[in-house]
């Protein structure tokens, strides 16, 4: 048996193509994807209504309510900042549109547009204050959180004399706006809420921006090391203010969904605590608190996990007292898995 031994051509290992497996494993969202699959199988086994395909619409809707906001919150966390005012900002936006349209008897669309401008302004203010003072975003957005929470209740009371805004359901433009923000349609046996469609569109656009454009690179750079990014010409200030404004835009969208879904009425006390759900979705999806790492798709999967657990517990008929404990344990587990996978992938 003669064999010719040829030494393999020595390739430079810095430019060799990594195997598909290694590339997959180094994606930030891989941990959450595995988690989502495990949870899905788990509830398919334990909860009978979970198996009915018609009920997918309910689960997706619950996920979209968190998921739409998880898009900008993920981007913001990759950019190295976070926003505690995101939860109440949603309510603020819904109230702005509702109260303005009602008080001045305007076409509903005027209220919607003004609310958009106002939400973007809140985001810009957060970003500007952060860059101007150099305070941590935790403190800046904590201040905004309390201001908005107070404004929500105080302004609603002054204008409507109650704690919920007056209904705008019989005003011009309500039908058209509802069709865009809060309608639903049948797809087979599944009732799909329009926000689910928007959510998928938003995730796709944001993922493309993050991975394929210069702006995406700037976001990673600004979050990874702001000083170094500045040194190579990344407009860090603009990027961060833009990210906060993105949170404002999506808060506006979610706020409009809130307004048009509940008959043109918004309860002024809502939204508190939601900001943590958005952050949870982003973190479970692989974003790091320190910035510079993460993914938009991961945030979407995080929102889906949240909704599967929340409704899975209900569908299974268990005592919902356990839900929060379950959620916390899952959050820890997900972050640990993310860390292990990330370290493994980097070690290869």
């Amino acid at each position: 048996m003669a064999s010719t031994i040829t030494s393999p051509a020595s390739a430079d290992d810095r430019v060799s193509a990594r195997s598909l497996g290694a590339r997959l494993l180094s994606r930030p969202e891989i941990g959450s994807l595995v988690g989502a699959a495990v949870i899905l199988v788990f509830f398919l086994i334990t909860a009978t209504p979970f198996r009915n395909i018609d009920n997918t619409g309910t689960i997706l809707y619950q996920a979209a309510l968190i998921g739409v906001m998880a898009v900008p919150v993920s981007l913001l966390m990759i950019g190295g900042e976070f926003d505690l005012s995101a939860g109440v900002a949603v309510t603020t936006s819904g109230l702005t549109a509702g109260i303005l349209s009602y008080q001045f008897s305007l076409n509903v669309w005027v209220g919607v547009i003004v609310a958009l401008v106002f939400s973007l302004a809140i985001g810009a203010f957060n970003g500007w204050l952060l860059m101007r003072t150099g305070l941590p975003s935790f403190l800046v957005s904590l201040g905004t959180f309390f201001i908005l929470q107070g404004l929500n209740i105080a302004v609603t009371r002054i204008t409507s004399g109650a704690v919920a805004s007056n209904s705008i359901s019989d005003m011009d433009g309500f039908g058209a706006a509802k069709a865009i923000f809060a309608s639903e349609f049948k797809l087979g046996g599944v009732t799909v809420k329009i926000i689910v469609v928007w959510w998928i569109v938003f995730v796709a656009i944001a993922a493309w921006v993050l991975l394929k454009t210069q702006i995406g690179n700037w976001i990673f750079a600004a979050g990874g090391d702001a000083a170094a990014a500045r040194a190579v010409g990344v407009p860090v200030k603009k990027v961060k203010i833009g990210l906060f404004m993105a949170v404002g835009f999506f808060a506006w969208f979610t706020g409009m969904q809130l307004l048009f879904n509940s008959n043109g009425v918004v309860q002024s006390g809502e939204g508190v605590g939601k900001e943590f759900l958005y952050i949870i979705a982003a973190v479970v999806g692989g974003c790091l608190l320190t910035g510079g790492y993460g993914s938009v798709l991961g945030g979407a999967i995080g929102a889906l996990i949240f909704s599967m657990v929340q409704l899975g517990v209900v569908y299974a008929g268990w005592n919902p007292d356990w839900f929060k404990a379950f959620l916390g344990a899952m959050l820890l587990l997900a972050t640990i898995v993310n860390l292990v996978v990330k370290n493994r992938a980097e070690a290869r």
């Binding site: 209504p49 809707y61 619950q62 704690v163 509940s262 008959n263 309860q267 002024s268 005592n319 919902p320």
Partner: protein, 331 residues
Amino acid sequence: MVRWQKKAVAAVAAVALAAALAACSSSGGKQKEQSSSGSGGNVAGTPRMKVALITHSGPGDTFWDIVRRGAEAAAQKDNIELQYSADPDGAAQANLVQTAIDSKVDGIAVTLNKPDAVIPNVKKAIAAGIPVTILNGGLDRWKATGALGYFGQDERIAGQATGEKLKQLGAKKVLCVIHEQGNVSLEARCQGIKDKFGNVENVNVNGTDQPGTQATLTSKLQADKSVDYVVALNAGIALTAVQAVKDAGSSAKVGSFDMSKEMAKAVQDGTVQFAVDQQPYLQGYLAIDAIWLYKNNGDTIGGGQATLTGPAFIDKSNIAAVLKYAEAGTR
């Protein structure tokens, strides 16, 4: 381990054991707890049903725990499997109603304290042929949904009854404590007291912050010596108000809405003058039982009108009868 270490470990263990034994209490604690006489016993021979109870309660709320116990009692007796779920967020509560529809339950009992968010899905459930009962909140909106019945208190009427009571007690100026900014039912209670009594001042506190509530009330009572009655809108706040009255050196008396174990004791001791009870146990019980009656005999309770579960006044004269139920956690 060297010998002296072993000895030290043994000595510590012995001391700990002795302390543990000596630490047994001769009074109170778990040992005193009687097995609460639940509504065990016979179960109805009607077919097994699945009913969802969906409230807007936050996690760990005493009041809603009592509602749930009432619902559980009715479910046990009626051969019903009860699925409890709750979310304080309007949109999320509406989605829980949707999950109940998805699960093809035989009936839904739901609170309408966030009517605009929840009503569309209540209508959906009724359209899908699921009987729905409303409890606790939504008095002015429930009829339009086509629900079977409403079991709760009219907060304005309860407030007015309290105003009358305060007149009888000879109060001069009342402080009405709102512990959740933006809660419609709480506002209605204070408004009802104002309707009948007049000299009422509202004060806002944060109900989830007990020390802050106490400080706010103390400073309020110190600033305004003319207040001679504090009306709290839940049991926990009332007990905090008792402390605040002491701290302020005020002679004001305390009245309250809603019951709890501690409240029953306070009424007995005379530290709280009266409690306006809306009988949450009854709300949960009737909301579930009404579905069973409708399913098995086509009955509706209330003849198309709301069934009021309160106000029931509890004071020194009738506390003895209520106390044992309060201790068992059903009043």
